[in-house]
Amino acid sequence: QQQVKQSPQSLIVQKGGISIINCAYENTAFDYFPWYQQFPGKGPALLIAIRPDVSEKKEGRFTISFNKSAKQFSLHIMDSQPGDSATYFCAAKEGAQKLVFGQGTRLTINP
């Protein structure tokens, strides 16, 4: 059962542009929503995370927007750079339970 749906599958953005990746979840018991960045051949690296009592969290060029009523959250990458080219995964977690991942978005930033 796919509990976290991620879109788009792939995304191409020009250098300096804004990259936006969206996720939707079904389980209202999820209480932690991290985003991971993964480069080829490497493990996922935690980028930024949010809890549902906050509507937005910003860290540098990365922002999570969270809409609890719509059960959706998104990652915005401002001033996208070629070094941001990677696969991004959203995930969700309920308390002590496992992380449930989206299917990933392959982001390419064109110079």
């Binding site: 991620q6 490497k42 493990g43 995930a91 992380l99 299917q103």
Partner: protein
């Protein structure tokens, strides 16, 4: 501080063989989880251990087993390997079972 370390980084095995993958968590982290990541997909949960006890198991066959040692390191064992077991196996550690998980670089297993 060292991050999560996994060994080996790459491994090639033949169908039917057995494999053991190892993970050392970040110092002070008591929870270790294992995930399987097939090419082009998100990681799928296999096991979670906390304080040496199994706290969660994903939808994987009994050929998969794991354990956590007193020093909080962990092993993932897979018996009777199938071609479909070829994947990146990821270990993640966290201070507590409810907190942020940090991943290692993974072990790339290829079954031929």
């Amino acid at each position: 501080d060292a991050g999560v370390t996994q060994s080996p980084t790459h491994l090639i095995k033949t169908r039917g063989q057995h494999v053991t993958l190892r993970c050392s968590p970040i110092s002070g982290h008591k929870s270790v989880s294992w995930y399987q990541q097939v090419l082009g997909q998100g990681p799928q949960f296999i096991f979670q251990y906390y304080e040496k006890e199994e706290r969660g198991r994903g939808n994987f066959p009994d050929r998969f087993s794991a354990r956590q040692f007193p020093n909080y390191s962990s092993e993932l064992n897979v018996n009777a390997l199938l071609l479909g077991d070829s994947a990146l196996y990821l270990c993640a550690s966290s201070e507590d079972i409810t907190l942020t998980a940090f991943f290692g670089q993974g072990t790339r297993l290829t079954v031929v």
